[in-house]
Amino acid sequence: MITTSNLSKKYNNNLVLNIESLDIPKGQSFGLVGNNGAGKTTYFSLLLDLIQPTTGFIKTNNIQVNESEEWKPFTSAFIDESFLIGYLTAEEYFYFIGELRNQNKADVGALLSQFEDFFHGEILKQKKYLRDLSKGNQKKVGIVAALIGNPEVIVLDEPFANLDPTTQIRLKGIIKDLAEKKGVTVLISSHDLMHITDVCERIVVLEKGEIVKDLATNKATLKELEAHFTN
């Protein structure tokens, strides 16, 4: 589904990302871990064609992302708050994204109704602009908006940060469900090793822009990761 070859990104001769090859098959739940500055967000930004690679390319569904825009209809993402439109209410934002993804109000409404638990009564019908919601609630909105329009690839940067424990657990359920039952390729990054081993069937560790570990998740993975980050 997603193939990366010879991808590198330099800022002023400072190599921040260098991935020789990385293949993510369809329907995989893929986790990216690494300390600050390891290149997680850079990789996601390259995948979404928000920055230009210095060398190499990423292809999703055989579409090279920095040459064609055909990947956009089946890809969605929530990277940070700059993906939210502060002066809209949650509903307006969902409908706006829906319209961009050719979903009518009923479609969006049907999707939203599945997430009532997740919203915990704090998102819909609040008469509040997104800019006035708490960080955690903003994140909930962004994540759910990324699910609108049946995307095949979903990219979530640090989805667990700022969420309360209940919501973290619910989010894990949602992500697992997407990959296992709906065949969606989910890419997430996290600083929380426990969550990411819970959710992802494959975990890649980045360090200073390079892949240092590529693990298929099993019972020993969490221990292995903890050992890796201890030194």
């Binding site: 956009k72 969605s76 700059s82 502060g86 209410t89 993804r101 006035d132």
Partner: protein, 492 residues
């Protein structure tokens, strides 16, 4: 303690992300300040001889005293719009061992050093010196001058009280309108003649400078009141809490008529209506619409038909200029979202184009009453409107692709130059000067009607070539995509 505060202030000034980048704007503001200083200085110097010449039988000082009331009202209104309480970022200070009292005193004390308080001095001092030179008793004149300084400070602190009440009402200009309007009306209809009270008051101060104590007491009370108000607000759950406004949602179903650009039209309309900065560009419409009234009633301008087009372009294009020059920076806060979404750039730009064109048409229609000043004006405005739709919209959209400055929508409106760069100044040339120059050229070579026709032809050509032009503009935007994302992503 004050030393610490001052050093914090100084660092925040020097190290602010926009320092240096917006040097041009600072210079521009400096020129405006200089302009006002010269204006006031000139007034102070010329007031005495001027009044003496016009009213040889009256004492200039008494005349000045008799209009002080209007000065106070004007100053209040002016300050309300342009002077804000200098708030330090106090949040990090709250949990440090600093008395809240000190923080409040510093903020209030700093406000006394505002430019607005020094400006009147440039008029008061020269006028006072002239009085002394003209053999008015020195001590009396000094007392009078001190009185005026005290009044300036009183206005200063009164303004902050008004502003703090305004902040709590939905219509923020209501308190100031009620207060100044009320005072003016009471005075105008002779119910309570404030004019006379203040005039007599200052005559009395002139005769007995010790009466300044009254003003000092008033000032003290206002300061105390401000202190109270501010002190209450220094808690995270009161004043420092960001205000949350309740949404008044409208679904804007009618935008459906615009077809595939409807989602963006809806977004743009909400953008304009729900953010302070953009909302102010709506109020600018009124200003632009009435712009002609500054010129047309004067016979001098009636004989300058080539000037009509300038006013025409300006008054029908005020929204276009105001809103258009910051495309796409208005969307800078969520530009990454738009760029990773399933959208066509052309639709996005077309929505802006439609919005601007519609505004030109509406403003032209609203400006039809200008025909009262002559049919030539209407004709010139009509040609200017066509030019705006056909040429200026495209020019401004094209200019937008050079936009690299982020705009934080939640910031206040007046005197906010965030997002302004060289592009915004340069773009004024083709927008306003070019049509005027073209028009003037053909006006002097051939005649008024032909000049109008030429301007209109340019506009029509632009409308005919719309699709082609939009493709060029879209390509330009796509080309600068990464640069824009990068620039809008920077925190400044």
């Amino acid at each position: 303690m004050v030393k610490h505060f001052l050093s914090l202030e100084w660092k925040s000034f020097l190290r602010s992300a926009s320092f240096g980048k917006s040097l041009g704007i600072k210079i521009f503001m400096g020129f405006i300040a200089l302009y006002f200083i010269i204006l006031f200085l000139g007034m102070g110097l010329l007031l005495y001889p001027g009044l003496k010449k016009t009213f040889p039988n009256k004492d200039p000082l008494l005349i000045v005293n008799s209009v002080l009331f209007y000065w106070i009202l004007a100053d209040l209104i002016f300050r309300f719009f342009f002077q804000k309480l200098p708030v330090m970022s106090v949040k990090p200070l709250l949990q440090l061992p600093i008395k809240r009292r000190d923080i409040v005193n510093f903020v209030l004390g700093k406000s006394a050093l505002s430019f607005f308080n020094f400006l009147p001095l440039f008029a008061i001092v020269p006028f006072g010196i002239t009085l002394i030179v003209k053999d008015y008793p020195t001590s009396a004149v000094l007392g009078w001058m001190i009185g005026l300084v005290l009044v300036t400070l009183i206005i200063n602190f009164l303004n902050f009280i008004i502003e703090s009440f305004s902040a709590e009402t939905e219509l923020s200009i209501l308190p100031i309108v009620l207060l100044t309007g009320g005072l003016y009306a009471l005075n105008h209809f002779n119910i309570i003649s404030f004019n006379e009270i203040i005039s007599n008051g200052f005559n009395a101060i002139y005769n007995a400078p010790l009466l300044n104590l009254t003003l000092l007491i008033i000032l003290g009370i206002l300061y105390w009141f401000n202190f109270k108000l501010l002190r209450q607000k220094l808690f995270l759950d009161s004043g420092l809490k960001t205000k949350i406004k309740e949404v008044n949602a409208s679904n804007l179903e009618w935008t459906k008529n615009f077809g595939d650009i409807a989602p963006f039209m809806k977004l743009d309309l909400k953008l304009i209506w729900r953010n302070k900065r953009t909302k102010s560009s709506v109020w600018m419409l009124a200003l632009g619409l009435l712009y002609g009234l500054f010129f047309y009633p004067q016979p001098t301008y009636q004989n300058l038909p080539w000037f009509f087009v300038f006013i025409g372009v300006f008054s029908t294009g005020i929204f276009l200029i105001n809103f258009g020059q910051f495309i796409p920076a208005w969307d800078s806060g969520y530009y990454k979202l738009l760029m990773s979404q399933n959208i066509k750039y052309e639709q996005y730009l077309k929505s802006k184009f439609t919005l601007m064109s519609v505004s030109v048409i509406i403003l032209f229609v609203l400006g039809i009453p200008y025909v009262f000043f002559g049919w030539k004006i209407l004709l010139a405005h009509f040609a200017a409107a066509i030019y705006n739709v056909g040429v200026n919209t495209h020019v401004i959209l094209y200019g937008g692709s050079f936009n690299r400055k982020k705009i934080d929508l939640s910031q206040k409106a007046a005197f906010n130059y965030q997002g302004t760069g060289a592009v915004q100044w340069l773009i004024g040339i083709p927008l306003l000067i070019l049509p005027m120059g073209l028009f003037a050229l053909f006006y002097f070579l051939v005649g008024f009607e032909v000049a109008c026709l030429i301007i209109a032809v340019f506009g029509v050509a632009g409308i005919v070539l719309h699709q082609k032009l939009m493709r060029v503009i879209t390509a330009k935007y796509l080309e600068s995509k990464y640069k824009m994302i990068n620039a809008f992503d920077e925190n400044k």
